[in-house]
Amino acid sequence: METIQSRIHLFKDMSVMLGRSMRHVSRSIDTIITVTIMPIAMMLLFVYVLGGAIQAGTDNYVDYLLPGILLIAVANSVGYTSFRLFTDVQRGIFERFNSMPVARSAALWGHVLTSLLSNVISLLVIILVALIMGFRPTAGILSWLAVLGILMLFTLALTWIAAIAGLAAKTVDGASVIAYPIHFLPLISSAFVPTASMPSGVRAFAENQPVTPIVEAVRALLFSKPVGSDIWVALAWCIAIMVVAYVFAMIVYKRKA
């Protein structure tokens, strides 16, 4: 009985926390620009300015480009998640919650769910714009669900990395510095051009980092192509990063709280 009661409270508390930090996202023009507008601008730039000169092997370059743009959007959100967590720790908001009869994990999960929900919304907006630009996927409902699943796993993996940075950082710069290497990964991957066109050193890096198999798997799913081993490599990367980052984030969280 008491556990059911406390479960209900946990979900209620989490939804209050989610509502709160979703407001932080929707009231930050800066976040919306970086996470949604910038990837769209990049997509427009690459398709309409550079696309004509890029040999990607698809009729419409947007068909090739979109998966990478989606991952860039998620990667761009990481710094903001760290920042929101950092601010809560610094301003004593977590301390306030911790002195209240609120489930310990609710505050942290509120941030994680916010990252997930706000990214899903921003990804949908970007896909909508791509459709207007002539993006014509052939995927059925199951493949779309698989795409959504992979993107959400990728988001969770990065979110838990962001959580470590946000909780452990001593300064605001420290909290968001984690974002830079993550921003970099999609740029050196098969997001914009096939890796076959790259010099061998760069190519070796591009092919063995998490973003390339994720991009390839999403692209294959969207166009009903065989996903091959990419999807398993992609899942392995996402899950491994997520589990390791989660464990570390929890250690830091317990020490702080």
Partner: protein, 212 residues
């Protein structure tokens, strides 16, 4: 009568800095207790231990009959904390801040509670402005309003009047007196003897040697 707060032999060190060296104190139900001390005396450390945010190295502390280490969730059910630095959400409005706390305390009519508290703390006119636009004194009042949500039997206020203008300080004093009059136990810290004398039934001074 049983004391609402009972502290025996409380010790706490940060590495080799011995901050609390055996603190004993008792606070009677419905009274105002003032913990006086200069910067770094350990006032915030005592408050954090009593509000379950920090664990002591040794000694025992009970709040509302519950041990802070063994029964932290019962302690949290009994208390409200206004920390030394206003813990308000800058992005939310004053009203949203209070409503959020009311929801987390599972209170029936969060908006009504918020309106009442905003009025009591003189924040009605600023209720729909983001807390980031508040002055220091307004933030402090919002912070206190958030702690009054749910009418906890024990309230901790860590330097509640620091940074307030004389008028706002008297307002806060009045609120504290009202709280005690309605049976709430108030534990506050301050750096001013005059404030402690004005408000408290009981004063303890925290200094190098411990309590006096």
């Amino acid at each position: 009568m049983q004391n609402t707060i009972q502290v025996i032999g409380l010790k706490k060190s940060y590495r080799d800095l011995h901050v609390l060296k055996g603190v004993d104190l008792e606070v009677a139900r419905g009274s105002i207790f003032a913990l006086l001390g200069s910067n770094g005396a350990g006032k915030t450390t005592v408050v954090k231990i009593l509000t379950t945010l920090l664990q002591q190295d040794s000694g025992t502390a009970t709040v509302n009959g519950f041990d802070v280490v063994l029964q932290p969730s019962q302690v949290r059910q009994s208390i409200s904390l206004t920390g030394q630095f206003a813990a308000v959400d800058d992005i939310l409005t004053g009203r949203e801040n209070i409503v959020m706390i009311a929801r987390l305390r599972h209170i029936k009519h969060p908006h009504q509670v918020a309106d009442d508290l905003l009025r009591r703390l003189g924040l009605t006119a600023a209720a729909n402005r983001r807390a980031a636009t508040y002055s220091g004194g307004m933030r402090r009042r919002l912070d206190i309003a958030m702690s009054l949500v749910g009418e906890s039997p024990v309230i901790f206020l860590d330097e509640p009047t620091t940074g307030l203008d004389p008028e706002a300080r008297i307002e806060v004093w009045n609120i504290i007196k009202e709280l005690a009059a309605s049976g709430t136990t108030v534990f506050l810290t301050t750096q001013y003897l005059e404030e402690a004398e004005q408000l408290a039934n009981q004063i303890a001074i925290l200094h190098e040697a411990g309590l006096s």
